[in-house]
């Protein structure tokens, strides 16, 4: 029942998101802009990989936080958040549903951005591209997990659009550090031992923040 419940919330969100395709557009656009500006600005830099890795993740983080601000902001505006909270579903499931839909959004953006680097960014597709996919997925999950939680907090405060990045920035540093460096190593086709620490940190980050947020979700909502 519980797994089905959060699947339902996630599916509802995903459906709404895809239906409101205009909402996905600014998010995609932001990501693309960051990548393009990055590639242009650093066009003469020899070291392609650090620039690529950094702009990719900064683009994902920006695009992600745009999507997240909407995740709870939109529902509070629509007044449906109270209705959702009265559902006979534990609030933790509500959180997991939000994470799932945010994760999917960021993943969609990543699936657009990553090929960009290979198409126009002058990067060669590495042999270990599945590893790249793995890192992107783990990083996206972390962004979604932390972001969904913090956007819930921000949604209950004033100036929530300005507040979310402020709250997100310190908490997302470990994720970005690990993701960017791991991505750099994978793009360079370095052996697994090189980026294993980064992978472990990403996994640890995801587990920690998912667990903590699920536990704290009840406290963060309600009276």
């Amino acid at each position: 029942m519980s797994a089905l419940a959060w699947w339902r919330v996630a599916a509802k969100d995903a459906r709404l998101e895809l239906r409101a395709r205009e909402a996905l557009q600014p998010i995609l656009l932001t990501g693309i802009l960051v990548v393009v500006v990055g590639l242009l600005a650093f066009h003469d830099v020899e070291e392609r990989l650090p620039v690529a890795a950094a702009t990719l993740w900064i683009g994902l983080a920006f695009a992600g936080s745009l999507g997240l601000a909407r995740a709870f902001g939109a529902e509070k505006d629509r007044g449906t958040i109270d209705t959702l909270l009265t559902l006979p579903v534990a609030r933790g499931h509500l959180y997991v549903g939000k994470v799932a839909s945010s994760f999917l959004t960021i993943l969609v953006v990543a699936l657009v951005l990553v090929p960009l680097y290979f198409a126009v960014g002058g990067l060669a597709l590495p042999a270990s591209w599945p590893a790249l996919l793995l890192l992107v997925a783990l990083g996206a999950l972390g962004l979604a997990a932390t972001g969904a939680m913090l956007s819930l907090l921000a949604a209950q405060a004033r100036s929530r659009d300005a507040l979310l990045p402020v709250l997100l920035a310190p908490l997302v540093v470990p994720l970005l550090l690990a993701a960017i460096h791991g991505t750099m190593d994978v793009l360079a086709d370095l052996p697994f031992a090189e980026w294993r620490p980064e992978l472990l940190i990403l996994v640890g980050y995801d587990i920690s923040f998912l667990a903590a947020s699920t536990l704290l979700f009840e406290a963060a909502t309600g009276a």
């Binding site: 939680m149 907090l153 470990p174 963060a220």
Partner: protein, 217 residues
């Protein structure tokens, strides 16, 4: 603050200054021996910064269980003091490292990165508090954020350790054991100082909270 605590802090700090500036022997193998003495303040300051952060997080935990105003007052006070000491730690650390090591790059020092994240976390904490007007909600959400941030800071240290090459983090480990006892005393003195400041600031925070909601006990 409590009188005895204030006097104790004053005495501890005074003794500390005397001991570390006058009595402590010159550090061998350091290219900047006088500046090295700031070590006795930089390390304890960083210690207090992290201690204060821990206290804020734990106070947040208590807040979520008890929903009282005292734990929140302690959380807020500790956050403020922690911010002060992290700034002190960061800047003294930078001055010392630049003086001591040729080609020091603060961005390649995991401890600098972690302190910076800590400061950002504190600032975010205050921004969140300022953005919520309703007191009960403010206390609750601040506690939640404090706990999440408490997760993020150690992870930041690990992440920056993993990804920084070469690493300046071990730069200041070379302390002569004979000098270690001065550092230890300094740590103790700063902890007492922290306790005194916490007491003072928490009382004021409590006063403010009661003025905001006179009906609370």
């Amino acid at each position: 603050m409590r009188r005895w605590l204030a006097w104790m802090a004053l005495f501890a700090l005074g003794a500390d200054v005397f001991l570390t500036l006058v009595m402590a022997p010159r550090a061998a193998n350091f290219s900047a021996p006088l500046t090295q003495r700031i070590f006795y303040y930089h390390v304890p300051a960083a210690w207090v910064a992290y201690l204060a952060f821990g206290v804020t997080a734990v106070a947040g935990l208590v807040q979520l269980k008890r929903r009282d105003i005292t734990s929140d007052a302690i959380a807020l006070a500790s956050a403020e003091i922690g911010t002060l000491f992290s700034l002190i730690a960061l800047f003294t650390g930078l001055v010392w490292a630049r003086q001591e090591f040729v080609g020091y790059d603060p961005l390649r020092d995991a401890k600098v990165v972690t302190l910076a994240v800590l400061i950002l976390a504190y600032l975010a904490y205050f921004a969140l508090r300022r953005a919520i007007e309703e007191p009960a909600r403010r206390r609750r959400l601040a506690a939640v954020f404090g706990l999440l941030a408490a997760l993020g800071v150690p992870l930041s240290y690990l992440a920056s350790q993993a990804s920084i090459h070469p690493d300046f983090t071990r730069a200041d480990e070379s302390l002569d054991p004979a000098l270690a006892r001065y550092l230890l005393f300094s740590l103790g003195a700063f902890t007492i100082l922290y306790a005194a400041l916490l007491d003072a600031r928490a009382r004021l925070a409590l006063l403010e909270a009661r003025q905001e909601e006179p009906w609370t006990t």
